[in-house]
């Protein structure tokens, strides 16, 4: 069966000056004829680059109320996850665990991330001499029919083209939106 799963190459160390067809060396003084493998490899490169997930930007800001986050997402990405950092005052004595809500899921049901850290009130570091930082990452679970506020991956509408996703978040000091999953077969795009 014809399938074309996406690859995840490490493009960073790839030298763009190197040819796909290697320079012949003695005693092979001519270039090999193009083969199916070479053609397939040539065809792979534009797809590798086009569908390589983009870097997830660590964005630091004082987000007190709801705020829209814009994140570029490459083609083939189906789900997003988020890393969050939240600074505040110690609230262990009040037993107060904090959380962040994220909306933007294709199914319209918010994702709620609870922090393990006991922090109370948000506090921007330059405004306070001492703050605690809680950190968390949304769950890697893909749930077709989520309950309200269930922590999970955020479903988006995958396409061939890159797109800007708008995710609304509240009460945090750093957020990273990143590709959590991709289509299993590029031919389905």
């Amino acid at each position: 069966m014809d399938k074309r799963p996406p690859t995840l190459p490490d493009l960073l160390p790839q030298d763009a000056s190197l040819p796909l067809v290697q320079i012949p060396t003695f005693p092979q003084p001519w270039t090999q004829p193009a083969t199916i493998d070479l053609l397939r490899s040539a065809d792979d490169w534009p797809l590798k680059v086009a569908f390589a997930p983009y870097v997830g930007t660590a964005m630091v800001a004082d987000t007190v109320g709801d705020r829209k986050v814009l994140a570029r997402v490459s083609g083939s990405v189906t789900y997003l996850r988020a890393d969050l950092t939240k600074c505040g005052n110690n609230s262990a004595s009040q037993n107060w665990r904090n959380f962040v809500n994220l909306t933007g899921d294709a199914d319209g049901i918010a994702v709620k991330l609870w922090f393990n850290d006991y922090i109370f009130k948000t506090a921007w570091p330059t405004s306070y001499s001492t703050v605690l930082a809680g950190r968390g990452t949304t769950n890697g679970a893909i749930i077709a029919s989520p309950a309200a506020n269930q922590d999970r991956q955020i479903e988006i509408t995958a396409g061939k083209a890159a797109q800007t996703e708008a995710i609304t978040v509240n009460h945090n000091h750093a957020i990273t939106i990143w590709a959590g999953n991709r289509v299993g077969d590029l031919l389905t795009l």
Binding site: D10, V21, A34, P53, V55, T57, A58, C87, T176, R182
Partner: protein, 333 residues
């Protein structure tokens, strides 16, 4: 002759590679995809949230951001998320100067219009010259607005005929598929790799961002959001940069704009990068675009690879300073 590109990337079936020798397909599909990558590979050069928290809104904001634009001088789209249904003037400038005081700015685009029902607007594309060291973004409104997010990414309108400075060479159909019985030259195969990698390396992807309004007007208690006293040392929130597929050591290039009313605060900005190993970049708060780099190997696997970024700002008992912006991009070592 033309330089055709599909409306989107074409994904060929594996069975398409079972072909007679010297047939035009599937190589033409791959070559047209090379042109498509030039058009549609659009990662964010800048992506972030203004650090300011405007619960009461603001009448305007100015951002100064260091950039590493494409060496090909590409057009970029500027997206803004803000308060919905608000008429806002958005003006974008570029500058090839590193020093902020006295820098010369050229307007690359301006638009006045409503932010619409969603509050998300796309301006441009506006060309950013390759020599640009930093950009200035100015928002103003007669009402109040809350600048929530900014995203800047390349959006070329057409591929170019000549080899570019980045190393991209477009596919022109006059080279191959309009000539009956044309042989497959090895350079056409090489082009699929070399041109697409050249595009990928040229378009830097924003890995970390921290910036704020450089010109708070004092209304509603607005002050500079990242202001450090001479005798202060402040630890900013740790943030995680995700680097999908980045298995090997990556060089992180950091650029910062820190403004001081006094002497240059040497090493006032300390960035610690932690993946499988760790590295430190120290930058001055000098009134200019300062740059430094260090290499670090991301931790974890596959899509989840990451580097944690810690930031300490210190006046070093030299002078107070305001950090306007700090941006980090991963690059090839």
């Amino acid at each position: 002759m033309s330089r055709p590109a599909p409306a989107s990337i074409t994904v060929a079936k594996p069975s398409d590679f079972i072909l007679p020798e010297f047939a035009v397909e599937p190589l033409v599909v791959a070559l047209e995809n090379v042109n498509a990558v030039y058009l549609y590979h659009q990662p964010a050069m800048i992506q972030g949230l203004p650090a300011d928290e405007y619960s009461g809104g603001t009448e305007g904001a100015t951002y100064l951001l260091p950039v590493i634009p494409s060496v090909d001088g590409l057009p970029y789209t500027f997206e803004l998320a803000t308060t919905a249904a608000t008429t806002i003037t958005r003006t974008y400038y570029e500058s090839s100067d590193a020093t902020i005081s006295g820098a010369t700015y050229s307007s690359i685009g301006t638009v006045t219009g409503s932010s619409g029902a969603s509050g998300i607007v796309s301006d441009g594309p506006y060309t950013i010259a390759a020599a640009t060291r930093h950009i200035k973004i100015v928002f103003s409104t007669a009402a109040t607005m809350y600048p929530e997010a900014i995203c800047i990414y390349p959006t070329p309108a057409a591929s170019v005929p000549a080899p570019t400075d980045a190393g991209f060479i477009a596919y022109d159909d006059g080279l191959y598929d309009t000539a009956t019985g044309a042989p497959i030259h090895k350079e056409l195969l090489d082009r699929c790799r070399k041109s697409t990698l050249a595009v990928w390396h040229d378009r830097k992807q924003c890995g970390y961002s921290l910036f704020c309004n450089t010109d708070p007007d004092g209304d509603e208690g607005e002050t500079h959001k990242i202001s450090i006293g001479s005798g202060d040392s402040i630890t900013m929130p740790i943030a995680r940069m995700r680097l999908p597929g980045y298995a090997a050591s990556a060089r992180m290039t950091a650029k910062a704009i820190g403004i001081t009313a006094g002497a240059t605060v040497t090493d006032g900005i300390t960035i610690t990068l932690k993946g499988k190993d760790s590295a430190v970049i120290q930058l001055d708060a000098s009134g200019a675009v300062e740059s430094g780099s260090a290499s670090v190997t991301p931790d974890s696997d596959d899509l989840a690879r990451f580097v944690d970024v810690s930031l300490v700002l210190s006046g070093e008992s030299i002078a107070a300073f305001e950090l306007h912006s700090l941006i980090i991009w991963p690059e090839a070592a």
